[in-house]
């Protein structure tokens, strides 16, 4: 065994460059495979389960997916507005435990401003089991004042702090010329929630109603709320209503009433189910990514075989000397397989660095775009299966060069070369 390990060590040392390059290509392949599987599972879990403590979303008639993306993930545009009567009706529904309206239409430097009720922070949670919390020195907004609570990511990206004032920009995308006149005071920064809420700015819904240039069409006719002291309920509108239901059964009956029998609104329930449908539709993309990852592994395994096989001619003399010293054919063959496995093991080890790099980059991108946080260090079975598979494949790739070593003609290769 000691001889075997010495032979492997020297084999690796004598072919440092090709061994390193091969290990590097295996590292890329291993990291890619682990990243593809881990990213798929983590993003699925994050987008279908962990991001929200809401049970359902009520919005204008349209796509459930658009409704969820707009209200839960602060992506996409709103499918339309709900008349205030529907907001009030759902608030009063005995199957609903809590309801809070959302109104969107403005941003600050690209971060979405969401008008909502103060009960968002009392009746709902940031994540299941995690109540909303503001960082020390802050508080939640007063519903009648021009105050804002901002997400942790927004604070870090924009530099806004408690006490900062800002002017919203009209629309969901940042256009410098579309600045509103109103000034809002930041009164609180949310503790990081690791959800899309981290990249939202929360203001009282009245603020959205009264923002200069906004027009309410609850009655069907344009109503400028910036000029009146009291806004009539019939003029008000909401982009959506976030709901907490008393039971899952309530969700199914509401779904039947609103989506199947009704014609004016859409209920997205369960929210995770709506997102799961999206992932199912994108399943083909995952399969393509998996296929690319597997192909990379095959190419890398081929490179192990090629690099070892190409060195066999220069190794023959050494192998013949080892045989003359008493090494068996099986010993030198085993040394070659072990060397291939060692290269693969090194590649698998480096693969973790590649994996962390890919996942960190992807997690940063996903967080910047959606607020959803993926954890590069989270456990996934692929983190064990892929390295083990790579090592096994490396050993397999060493078989052909090992066979060539096995067949080394000792007497012929001991002959003087000069």
């Amino acid at each position: 065994m000691r001889a075997l390990l010495l032979m492997v060590r020297r084999g690796l040392a004598q072919h440092k460059l090709s061994s390193s390059i091969t290990a590097g290509s295996l590292a890329l392949a291993c990291g890619l495979v682990m990243a593809v599987f881990a990213l798929r599972e983590q993003s699925y879990a994050a987008f279908t389960g962990g991001s929200t403590a809401f049970d359902a979303v009520l919005g204008a008639r349209g796509s459930q997916l658009q409704l969820v993306l707009n209200t839960v993930f602060h992506l996409e545009t709103s499918p339309g507005n709900l008349p205030w009567s529907l907001v009030q009706a759902i608030e009063r529904d005995p199957r609903v435990k809590a309801a809070v309206p959302y109104a969107v239409g403005d941003n600050y430097k690209g971060f979405r401003i969401v008008g909502t009720g103060a009960n968002l922070f009392s009746d709902f949670e940031a994540r299941k089991g995690d109540p909303w919390r503001v960082q020390p020195g802050g508080r939640f907004f007063e519903p009648t004042l021009r105050e804002a609570v901002i997400g942790d990511f927004v604070a870090r990206r924009t530099g806004l702090r408690v006490g900062s004032r800002f002017q919203p920009y009209h629309g969901l995308t940042y256009v410098e010329s579309a600045k509103h006149e109103e000034q809002y005071l930041v009164v609180g920064i949310l503790e990081p929630t690791r959800t899309p809420a981290d990249r939202a700015i929360w203001i009282p819904i009245e603020g959205i109603f009264r923002m200069g240039g906004h027009v309410l069409r609850g009655t069907g006719e344009a109503f400028d709320a910036s000029k009146v002291a009291e806004i009539p309920d019939e003029a008000k509108e909401a982009s959506s209503v976030m709901l907490k239901l008393k039971s899952p059964q309530a969700g199914f009956t509401l779904d039947a009433e609103i989506n199947k029998q009704g014609k004016v609104a859409t209920l997205a329930f369960p929210i995770g189910g709506v997102m799961a449908e999206l992932f199912d539709k994108l399943g083909w993309m995952n399969r393509v990514l998996e296929a690319v990852a597997y192909l990379t592994v095959l190419v890398a395994a081929g490179s192990v075989m090629a690099s070892l096989y190409n060195t066999m001619n220069e190794r023959r003399r050494s192998l013949a000397i080892l045989r003359a010293l008493g090494a068996r054919r099986t010993t030198i063959s085993a040394a070659i397989v072990l060397e291939a496995s060692a290269i693969a093991a090194l590649g698998a080890l480096l693969g973790f660095a590649v994996y962390v790099a890919i996942l960190s980059g992807a997690a940063e991108l996903v967080r910047a775009r959606t607020g959803v946080v993926l954890d590069a260090w989270a456990w996934h079975p692929a983190l064990v299966a892929a390295p083990l598979g790579i090592i096994a494949l490396g050993a397999l790739a060493g078989l052909l060069p090992a066979l060539s070593a096995y067949r080394t003609d000792v007497a012929r290769n001991l002959q003087p070369t000069s």
Binding site: R2, A3, L6, M7, R10, G11, A13, Q14, R317, S318, I321, L322, R323, A324, L325, G326, A327, R328, R329, T330, T331, V410, A411, L414, P416, T417, S418
Partner: protein
Amino acid sequence: MSPSPHVLHLAGLRKSFRSPDGSVQPILDIDSFALAPGEQVALAGASGTGKTTLLHVIAGILTADSGVIELAGTDLARLSEAARDRHRALHLGYVFQTFLLLQGYSALENVLLAQMFGAGADERRARELLDRVGLGDRIHHRPAQLSVGQQQRVAVARALAGKPSLVLADEPTGSLDPTRARDALALLCDACREQGAALLVVSHDRDVLARFERVHDLAELNRAGRAVTAGGSA
């Protein structure tokens, strides 16, 4: 059955190769040859008399067509290839003409490897042997970092590493200048004597042959070699 009084005994040894034209070319045809434990013998032979082939057959690197090759009491012809490898590692040391050191390995590792395939690594003995051949301060040097003479000494230490009962040396001074050759041969003979190993040297160098009391002419010993020599082969 009494133990063999010889460390090496050849009887009726035949070895031939097939030529590219398909004809069978006899290389070795030796009726009888024996070597007692600790004995030092030289075989004199010009090129083409089958010197290297004979040593390879004795080492079990090549198999004979027929005959007995008894090394340390065991007939190699009765052993499987793996058993021959093991027997070689346990009982035989080999000094090649061009030393054939493993280039990627240090002097110490070259010696240790020879032990590892036999009874097991004994680093103390490996260091002592290298010290004995005057390379105690070069044990971590690679062959390329050693002079030709130093490489030859590593080869001697390696050949003796596994406490062999027989050391084969194929033109052991062929790569050295006369002064170094003389020193190297003296070292080889002395070291074998100290370690209790028999020594069989094949060479065409008269200076080398002159050192041995028992010298056989390979052309006389090997009938096939005689034929080759008579045929004018180089």
